[in-house]
Symmetry: C2
Subunit: 247 residues, 2 copies
Amino acid sequence: MCRQILFDNEIFFEGYRAIRQNPDCANLLTEKPALFSMLGEIRGKRILDLGCGYGENCLAFEEMGALAVTGVDISEKMLAVARQENPGKEIRYIHMPMENIRSFRPNEFDVVVSSLAIHYVEDFEALARDIFSLLSPKGIFLFSQEHPLTTAPEKGVRWLQNADGKEEGYVVTDYARPGRRSIHWMIDGVVKYHRTFSDLVNGLCAAGFCIEEMREPLPPKEAFGRIPSLEKEKHKPNFLLIKAQKP
Amino acid sequence: MCRQILFDNEIFFEGYRAIRQNPDCANLLTEKPALFSMLGEIRGKRILDLGCGYGENCLAFEEMGALAVTGVDISEKMLAVARQENPGKEIRYIHMPMENIRSFRPNEFDVVVSSLAIHYVEDFEALARDIFSLLSPKGIFLFSQEHPLTTAPEKGVRWLQNADGKEEGYVVTDYARPGRRSIHWMIDGVVKYHRTFSDLVNGLCAAGFCIEEMREPLPPKEAFGRIPSLEKEKHKPNFLLIKAQKP
């Protein structure tokens, strides 16, 4: 199932929305704070948000003083929510698959951000090259995605549990077999692409980027006491974030 | 058990030697070809080999036209083998822990190589800074180490096997808990240090390096048919190699 149909699917759309509205969901607890702490100063900068979804980040970028924010997403349904709930004077939302960003001008952006969308894109090397050409010199590309240990297994995520039901290990399979994964996540046939750490790093290097920082963040300390199920993330984190600079 | 005592230990020394003499051992089959293919032109260059062990790589670097090769190792016993079996006119072997390389001069080397030794060093950030200062501008730091999924588990490597004894998955634990690991490998109490991909990348970036390439190599295709036990490396590779440049 392609991304557009996926995020426009009614069951997936409502399920995804419910997840994202829970303040203890993994992306609000862990991914979003990491992404924003890696972002750096964006005041006066032109931002492109790839896979902007509901547009919460676009609005935050505007509030942080960005000169202009462009959010693109493949799902018209998500953009409808974005335009209604997170509009802004300096924000434009564009319906476009990430594969088409070559339609922007070279040097049109100072920062390209993408939150949890890159793992839906088949050709990361091509995307990295496209982003490189859209960025101004010294421009930043910052993205988060599912952790490569999460995307790896061809048969989906599997934990080993002890007698008390506590996760005592994560079963990695197929890590060195990059490519298409079709898994069940709320609905059948959600398609993602597994890439190793090396695939991602080399894709960025080949495009001309210099890597600045990598993070595999854990939830904040206070959350571990409150939500015991987070303990398993010490075996396998949920997210990977990489920040790279155009020289 | 500290590294020096480890590699000077008689049981470990002989066991390690036997492993490395098998042409189908993982480092000859997989790690060494990857390391040499990432090395680039070394003709006329000054090479430092950290954890040079028996000195096979030092001799290879000399034969490839290196101007000068310095091999350092913490084990006097291994260096004795190196001096006897792999001597060279342009090679000097020095008994020294990696932590002491600050005793070399700034810009003394054009290439720093380390094969399967970095995971024995406690402070990677400090080592990366030291290496950076020893390198000439545009100098290269290339290293291999055990894969982070191998170093992660506090209780050692564990595979899930199916009824036929075939490995169907690797059990990752403690990946997000970097630090000291004491495991059994031929003898008890072999001490290594686990670092995540992020720890390694950020250590290099903080030192000033720009990452050029990362690899998690698999054995050559022909070997899979010949040695069925290699199949499991598609779930979890054995090695990680990173090449970084001083700008």
